[in-house]
Every structure is written in C-alpha cells, then in structure tokens.
Point group: C3
Chain length 115, copies 3
C-alpha cells in the first residue's frame, strides 16, 4: 500500500493518503484568540484546504472526531459544523470534551475522507 | 470509492460504509436514566442494529473506542462488553474518560467493522 | 474482507489486520512506575513489537492518537515521540488529555499502519 504524506513537520504530517483514504491530523485554529465559533470555522477552512491538497473535498468525508475543551461549547461549535456540512453527505461523528495542547484552543477536529 | 451513508440527521450519519469498512458514529443510550451497565447494553444493541443495516455484525468489528464519563465505571461497562463480545473476535480497543454531550450520558462507543 | 486478530484477551485484541491496514489497541506502559518519558518509550517499544507481528513497522504508520493524563506532560511525551519517529514518515496525529484506566498510567497511544 502506497502512503503519501503532506506537510510533515517534526511532530506529525498534516494529512496522509493511503489506499484511497485521506486522514487529517487533529486540526486546530491558527488564531486561538477567536471564540469557539470562530475557531471552528477556521479549523474547518484548514480541513477544506488539506482535503483539496489530496484531491478530495468535504462531500467525501467519512468520519469525524471533535474535541471541545468545554462540552457546553458544543452548540456554538455545531453552528459552524451545520454551515460547513450543509446537512449533506454527513460523516459519522463523535464529540467529547478534552483539554487540548494549548489552553486557549477551544476545539480540535480530525476527519477521515475518501478520495 | 463509493460511500454509503445511513440514517443521516443534521449532525451526523449514524453509520457510513466505504471500501468494505463500516464506521459508526459515537453511539449513546436512548434512555439516559439507566446506570452504566444498562446504558452500555443499550448502546451495544444499537451498534448491532447499525452493523446489520450494513450487512455485517459484531463478529467483524475491527476497532472500538469507548468513552466513559467516570473511568471508575469501566468495570460496570466491561460487564456488558464481555457479554456482547463473548470473548471472541475481539476488536482493538481504547477506553478513556471524557465528558459527553449530555451530563446524564455515562458511556459512548464507536466501532469500525469490516463487511 | 479477511480479518486477522493477534493476542486476543478477554477485553480486546492487541492488534488487528484488515484489508492492508493494521490497527493497534490503545497501548500503555507495562511499568506504570515510570515517568511519562519512560512510559512513552515503553509504549512505543510495544507498538514496534505489535507492528512487527503484522509484518510492518513504524515507517508505515498512517495515523496516531495520543492521550496524556496531564496535557502539561506533552513535552516529555514528545521527547520519546521525536526519538521514535526520527522526523521521518510522520503519521497524522491528535493528542488530547484524558484520564486512563489506571491512575498511574500517564500516556496511551494507538496507531493505524499500512502493511
């Protein structure tokens, strides 16, 4: 099985392709001064960019994992989620609370897509 | 790669098929008044139903992810897990503590299966 | 799809192969008296062993999930991570905080690899 790795740094690759599947790292906002809605939008924009890099897009996302640092932020996060998905081609999803790498980060999202 | 999505709502699909793999969402009990044993049983029943919808079953589960809201509930959750798996065709598993969408939910389980 | 399960116990298989992918369970250190650096090294050694069991190795890891019981332990965990990966063939990664099965466990790691 061929593996294609994109945007590797010292810690991870941002996105990896293998056998028709596209896996992203857990993605967070670049600007952690934003509120949870803003951070989620920025995170999903970055996921769009990573999927495009692999020749796929959000219509082919299979599964998603969302961590929020405060589960009460789920509604605000969902606002951006609803806008992003548009209610179509919904992946499976799990969303749980967890502390993230930087205390200012409020949301982290990882997706697996098909090509 | 063809993607087949089942029981989509505004937030997620309950189960998605792609390339011979079947992915469920993080599943929780319908009746959150149950104790952790009861919630786990109800969750695993729902997973059985979702796998059947895709023409597969628990004997073909590859991996599992379990979140419990209190890690001390692991033993009670495992009681239902042992009964469900019967000690056969064991998937890989990770089980960690996390706060879930509703404070009354005590356990959430996500599985990936083969068809 | 053929599924090959290795080192099954009552709770899980330590590693499962399906369709060219290799999935490990969430792996933890055998010696939970070690500090986070020591536990991470021991965990990654065990992952090496499990991957070898399936005829693959760390150069083919696609994705990784890391849980630390205290997110401030991330730097110490990363020391072992940097040594293990050597900055090459980086998988995608997510790393969040979560309480683990035993309060003495400080880190748990799960990987998916290609064969």
């Amino acid at each position: 099985m061929a593996i294609e790795r994109h945007e590797q740094n010292k810690v991870f690759s941002k996105v990896v392709e293998a056998n028709g599947f596209v896996f992203t790292s857990g993605i967070t906002a670049n600007d952690n001064s934003l509120d949870v809605l803003g951070q989620t939008k920025q995170t999903l924009d970055e996921i769009d960019r990573l999927l495009a890099l692999c020749g796929t897009d959000k219509s082919k996302v299979i599964s998603s994992m969302i961590w929020v640092t405060d589960i009460r932020h789920r509604d605000a996060m969902n606002e951006a989620w609803f806008e992003w998905t548009g209610g179509q081609n919904m992946p499976v999803r799990a969303c749980v609370e967890a502390a993230l790498a930087d205390p200012k980060l409020l949301v982290e999202i990882q997706v697996t897509a098909a090509k």
